[in-house]
């Protein structure tokens, strides 16, 4: 295969100096859409429970009130994501594809540790420039696992973990109430309360709470599990009723067509700007 010398893979930093100069001259850099977030995962008796809030922010604005932060990887594993929204979407979709190929290649269910290794190897290769912080959870023949994966490529395997801007608020709930071998309902309530801590106490997290329960029998996605922030009902109508403004006079003037001309315009290329 011919190797074109112009093709570069990975991130390009050639515009860095130019960008710095532009910023110093007052050019407002566009803000990326982030999922300032609360995500969490716990291991319970029969599997794992993953939870996430649903707010996506662009600087100080809520870009999406109900985005989905629990991404599908395999029937036996899902991944919650915090950080740059585009990076998360692309990374998880890429990994889902790679994991499916892995499953077809080996002919067996993919172990969660395989996904963990794939994520960390990719993120480390990009040295943290891919802003993806993940809570990966799943059940395989080796047991139930929760991993937290950081943008620079470090991973931790823990019985409970939280990530995102609301992670401190969520972690307090886990530190108080987590214990080994919880039942499903207790685990669901625990994760719901942890995410709610983030939703109500962190400005980067908000709206609803999604849960995903994974056991050896498969995954169950509960979206939304808890509509924590209901939009208020509008109390009054501020339009004027018909008849409030008095009609004094009425004059009707029809548009008269004086003449008609037809001028054919030559075909133009579609404007794709």
């Amino acid at each position: 295969m011919e190797d074109s010398g112009d093709i570069h893979t990975g991130f390009q930093f050639t515009n860095f100096a130019r960008n710095e100069k532009m910023v110093s001259r007052g050019f407002p850099m566009p803000v990326c859409r982030k999922t300032g977030t609360t995500i969490a995962g716990v291991v319970f008796k029969d599997g794992v429970v993953l939870g996430a809030d649903t707010r996506a922010t662009e600087g100080d604005i809520v870009a999406d009130k109900n985005c989905s932060k629990i991404h599908y990887l395999q029937p036996n594993m899902y991944c919650c994501g915090a950080g740059t929204a585009a990076d998360l979407e692309m990374t998880t979709q890429l990994m889902a594809g790679q994991l499916e190929l892995h499953r077809l290649n080996t002919g067996r269910q993919v172990p969660v540790i395989a996904a963990n290794s794939m994520f960390k190897q990719m993120l480390f290769r990009y040295q943290g420039h891919i802003g993806a912080a993940l809570v990966l959870g799943g059940v395989d023949k080796y047991g139930s696992h929760i991993y937290s994966i950081h943008p620079h490529g470090s991973t931790d395997r823990l019985p409970y973990t939280t990530m995102g801007s609301g992670s401190l608020a969520a972690m307090t709930v886990f530190e108080e109430r987590w214990h080994p071998d919880m039942e499903l309902d207790e685990a669901k309530q625990l994760v719901r309360d942890a995410i709610a801590g983030g939703v109500f106490n962190d400005l980067g997290s908000g709206s609803n709470i999604d849960l995903c329960i994974i056991t050896k029998d498969g995954a169950n996605m509960l979206r939304p599990y808890d509509v924590a922030n209901v939009k208020g009902q509008r109390v009054g109508k501020y339009e004027y009723k018909r008849g409030v403004t008095e009609v004094l006079t009425k004059k009707v003037r029809p548009i008269e067509i004086v003449s008609e001309t037809v001028r054919p315009i030559p075909g133009e290329d579609m404007d794709t700007a």
Partner: protein
């Protein structure tokens, strides 16, 4: 007088080889310029971490650990950051310990002056909060801040009062207040408990406060297990020292962690 050198230097030397009036002698061979303006330190040296406070049914409770950190060194393990101002006010500070000790001495003198001059209304928490706000804001406006995050607890007009003052002069009153890491970890815990229970009794408040300090000990790198609790009620102030939360901590999670993948 050499006119040519008039604009180049501060003043011509009175004697050859010596410093200008008010200046320091510059040793030959050194090339660091002696600053003439006072530079104020803008960083804390020995510092205290979070303070947590909450209002309960009948009073206010404050908790803080007793660690004075020197950067990442746990240098002084029995620094009492809480002090009783009067029967109606308690002050706990996080941030620079030296600034805390300074402000404590100023406040103690202030209370003494009130007593001496026969000024009967005892300094209450609201008045202390207000005064502290003005002092800290004025210091920051002169670019010489007292590097503190103070929590003022007590009574104001017979009602429990809890307030926060910052090194930049941010001040507010609330039912639950915390500084440092406590803001991110203890406040959500207290809010959740209040939502579930409504009115907190003294025992609820005590248990919640100790739970908050315990979680902070788990998750704050600069926290310590020895702590103090101050309880202010209509009867007065009670400060308990030398409390230890280490026996109540659980590290059994260690059994579930093997490696990192």
């Amino acid at each position: 007088m050499d006119v040519g050198r008039m604009f180049g230097e501060v003043a011509p030397p009175l004697w050859s080889g010596g410093p200008a009036p008010g200046g320091f002698y510059s040793f030959p061979g050194t090339n660091n310029k002696q600053h003439e303006t006072k530079t104020h330190t803008m960083y804390p040296s020995t510092s205290g971490t979070s303070v947590v406070g909450l209002v309960y049914d009948g009073g206010v409770m404050l908790g803080a650990d007793t660690l004075g950190s020197y950067g990442s060194l746990a240098r002084f393990r029995n620094v009492e950051r809480t002090f009783k101002v009067t029967d109606k006010a308690v002050l706990t500070c996080s941030g620079d310990i030296a600034d805390y000790q300074f402000i404590r001495e100023v406040i103690e003198q202030k209370v003494r002056d009130d007593e001496i001059s026969g000024f009967t209304p005892v300094l209450n928490a609201g008045a202390l909060h207000c005064w502290l706000t003005r002092v800290l804001y004025n210091r920051r406006s002169r670019f010489d801040p007292l590097w503190l995050e103070c929590v003022v607890a007590g009574f104001k007009d017979d009602k429990p009062f809890l307030g926060y003052v910052d090194k930049i002069g941010t001040a507010f009153e609330a039912q639950e207040v915390a500084s440092g890491f406590g803001m991110h970890m203890a406040i959500p815990m207290i809010r959740e408990a209040r939502e579930k229970k409504g009115n907190l009794t003294r025992d609820d408040a005590r248990k919640l406060l100790v739970d908050c300090l315990k979680v902070l000990y788990y998750r704050d790198c600069r926290a310590h297990f020895k702590y103090q609790v101050a309880d202010v009620t209509a009867e007065g102030v009670k400060i308990e020292n030398d409390l230890n939360l280490k026996p109540d901590t659980s590290w059994s999670i260690a059994n579930f962690v093997r490696g990192y993948e």
